[in-house]
């Protein structure tokens, strides 16, 4: 799985998913990201690493935040950036994905950052574009969102200083979450002591325990003694299906409130990939509270994406 993202020397060519990556590779991404964090603080927030390179943001699903941080990351590396929001343009005119890729190839771009509603779409694209193009997965269906996982790992490392001995809980719609899958793989590769998923039975994928997680259906029990809480966004359309009775009931049983924070470790951090649904999965007091590192995640996202762009393009090695 995800094997095509490495070249024949085991270096990162594409960044399609966390599953199957080596621990030292994840650590070197975090290391490179750390060196980029300072770029943010400079008066001129730019380094010339990707000068002359063109990064294309290909978003087949609407997104503002993720696309913006990718754009910012590319610009801080001095790359040129093109944005395509495709849900509204070409595919509705009947152009196939392959045709679109051929057109973009003809423009001699270097990296495609892709978000698509179909799992495996990034693998499909990586297999069908010219070998000179690098693909970065910005979320493929329910499969993976690996840059989000890396910025989550960066934030955890920043706050906790280590991965071992940590207990991490992921709470919410695990079934439909690419963030959850990527986080689970990353946490497991980096060797935390325990990964928990907390969700109602309707929002858990089949056999999730085989990914090496402990499954909890009860929020308070699941949160007891954890060091890190990763909340997931609950999409509005889930409430309109038979998966859940109402947003009200979901918040009552799975919403992260001040009261719930009592059971977790006093130094625990609260994370969320955003955009948050206040009063659905997280109470405002918690989202804005002192343990929340949600905005720190956003900031870290830029440096982490810079690192992944530079590494897949080969301008920075893994050493």
């Amino acid at each position: 799985m995800n094997t095509i993202q490495l070249d024949n020397q085991g270096r990162l060519k594409h960044f399609l998913g966390i599953e199957g990556l080596r621990r030292d590779l994840l650590l070197s991404i975090l290391n490179v990201a750390k060196s980029f964090i300072t770029v943010d603080a400079q008066v001129v927030k730019k380094v010339p690493l990707l000068r002359g390179k063109t990064i294309v943001n290909l978003f087949f699903e609407p997104s503002t935040r993720t696309r913006t941080t990718f754009e910012l990351a590319a610009k801080r590396l001095s790359a040129d950036v093109l944005n395509f929001n495709i849900s509204t343009s070409s595919t509705s005119k009947g152009e196939t994905l392959i045709d679109m890729l051929r057109n973009l190839e003809a423009m001699h771009c270097d990296t495609f950052v892709v978000r698509h509603e179909a799992a495996g779409a990034v693998h499909f694209i990586a297999q069908h574009v010219s070998p000179s193009i690098h693909i970065i997965n910005a979320g493929d269906g329910w499969h993976e969102h690996p840059t989000q996982a890396m910025l989550d790992m960066y934030t955890i490392l920043q706050c906790k200083g280590k991965f071992n001995h940590l207990k991490v809980a992921i709470v919410g719609d695990i079934l439909h979450s690419r963030v959850a899958r990527s986080d689970i793989h990353a946490l497991s590769i980096l060797g935390v002591s325990e990964i928990r998923v907390i969700a109602p039975k309707t929002l858990l994928p089949f056999g999730v325990e085989h990914l090496g997680v402990k499954v909890f259906n009860h929020l308070r029990t699941g949160l007891t003694d954890v060091d890190v809480v990763i909340m997931l966004r609950l999409q509005r359309e889930r409430m309109q299906s038979a998966l859940l009775p109402s947003a009200h009931e979901y918040f009552q049983y799975y919403g992260l409130t001040e009261e719930m924070l009592e059971v977790i470790d006093s130094s625990a951090i609260i994370m969320h990939p955003g955009p948050i649904n206040r009063g659905v999965e997280i109470a405002s007091e918690v989202a804005d509270g002192s343990r929340s590192v949600i905005l720190q995640q956003v900031t870290n996202g830029i440096a982490v994406r810079m690192a992944i762009m530079a590494m897949t393009l080969g301008v920075i090695g893994e050493g």
Partner: protein, 441 residues
């Protein structure tokens, strides 16, 4: 073309009479006239030398999408009946989900007429159970039967249980066999892969195992209620097989088939999102595949079909879930059955019966056997010929097969339909490179 011919020196296998011996077949005026010595006054105008080859009844395939009418860019009656004939298939059933649907005698007749004109594999249309396959109003089953339809099917599930009950009862009234595709109309309807740990890892929407067993259970209860003769198509799960085994033991008139590819692949083949493995029902677990294989040996599954579904290249050229499901499968049917016989240590009489005698019995037709006086529909193949299925040598218009690149053993050398040779294999001319590489070996 000769009106009388003999096939001499071959190993003749006929599952119907359990014949497996070196002998000759004699054919006159399109019919098989003798096995062994020729009848008195018989003079063969032509002779097929079948030494080292196996001579068996032509294959009967319970499901081949011809794509005509309605999707001729995927396949035509001519292209697909020719591909079938070249693969040793002499009779095939065409499901009713053409465009327009086979729900009027006109469409059924058009199909048969064009198939006749093509002069290749014989085509038996399966009629729609309900008009437009919509599951609401019954199709004119009586008329459709008179127009040559061999069975009735709705392909997709009938949601309304009352409609299903009356459709089955009316089919029984017409003495038609109902072909059922057991999939619950709701459970897993958005899915594209077996719901299991693999679909969880890949983030693909799942089709639970229960999708099939629930529908089999619902159908079995209504089969009992209506007394219809029913055939379950393309089973994929162990539990559905258990239900059917019990029903058969209780004397219900039910049969079942499996596609050749479900006997080979499992959910594990999906891990690289290769859309050639996108099929409905999905490839399931290793245990399910084992149960399918065991059920063939035990006789609870009677037949193997190709479940041929040719597609144009573009239909498979997009992310997994968005591709059209199905495999172009007639070309690989016979070699896969032969390989299966080998893997299961099963004799050829039994293995060939799954694609000849048994499907013919399900259809209630006098095919799939070497019967004196019946039309000479015969397949001759070289069991030892190794070959590789490629985009270039696949006969179907659709090259959508996960078996491309597979080294297969066993190749059809002649296909006879009504005593007429419709296919004879010429070994590809060896190129200089081939000869050199042979020398090197």
């Amino acid at each position: 073309m000769a009106t009388s011919l003999s096939i001499v020196g071959g190993r003749v296998i006929d599952p119907a009479t359990r014949l497996d011996t070196l002998t000759d077949l004699h054919i006159a005026n399109g019919k098989l006239v003798a096995i062994g010595s020729p009848p008195p006054n018989f003079a063969a105008e032509w002779q097929i030398e079948a030494k080292g080859q196996i001579v068996c009844p032509g294959l009967v395939d319970l499901s081949v999408r011809l794509r005509e009418p309605g999707a001729e860019h995927k396949g035509t009656i001519l292209s697909e009946t020719r591909a079938a004939a070249n693969s040793g298939i002499t009779t095939l059933c065409c499901p009713p989900d053409t465009l327009p649907v086979i729900d009027t005698p006109a469409v059924a007749e058009l199909l048969q007429q064009r198939a006749n004109n093509a002069g290749m594999t014989k085509v038996l249309p399966i009629a729609a159970l309900t008009q437009g396959l919509r599951g609401e109003q019954l199709a004119e089953m009586g008329d459709l039967k008179e127009a040559g339809c061999i069975a009735v099917s709705n392909v997709q599930p009938i949601v309304n249980t009352e409609v299903l009950r009356y459709a089955l009862a009316y089919a029984a009234n017409c003495n038609l066999t109902v072909f059922l595709h057991p999939q619950d109309p709701w459970l897993g309807r958005r899915g594209c892969a077996h719901e299991g740990f693999i679909s969880t890892r890949l983030g693909l929407a799942g089709i639970p195992e229960a999708t099939e067993s629930i529908e089999v259970a619902r159908n079995l209860l209504l089969i009992e209620l209506t007394g219809v003769r029913a055939h379950f198509c393309r089973l994929s799960t162990a539990r559905a097989l258990t239900l059917i085994k019990t029903a058969q033991a209780n004397g219900l008139p039910v049969t079942a088939d499996v596609s050749a590819h479900h006997l080979y692949f499992t959910e594990h083949n999906l891990t690289e999102y290769n859309s050639q493995y996108h099929v409905i029902p999905p490839f399931r677990t290793l245990e399910d595949r084992q149960a399918l294989r065991t059920s063939l040996i035990d006789g609870n599954l009677q037949a193997i079909c190709s479940d041929h579904q040719p597609h144009e290249a573009d239909a498979k050229l997009s992310p997994f879930a968005t591709t059209a499901p199905g495999i172009s499968a007639v070309d690989s049917l016979l070699p896969l059955v032969l390989q299966l016989a080998n893997e299961l240590s099963c004799d050829l009489l039994t293995a060939l019966s799954w694609v000849t005698l048994q499907p013919a019995r399900i259809l209630g037709i006098p095919a799939g056997a070497l019967t004196i006086g019946n039309p000479a529909d015969i397949c001759i193949f070289n069991p030892d010929l190794h070959w590789t299925l490629t985009k270039e040598n696949i006969h179907s218009l659709g090259a959508n097969s996960p078996f491309l690149g597979w080294k297969l053993k066993g190749h059809v050398t002649h296909t006879l339909i009504n005593g007429r040779v419709v296919y004879s294999y010429c070994e590809p001319k060896k190129t200089l490179t081939d000869s050199l590489s042979n020398l090197a070996e």
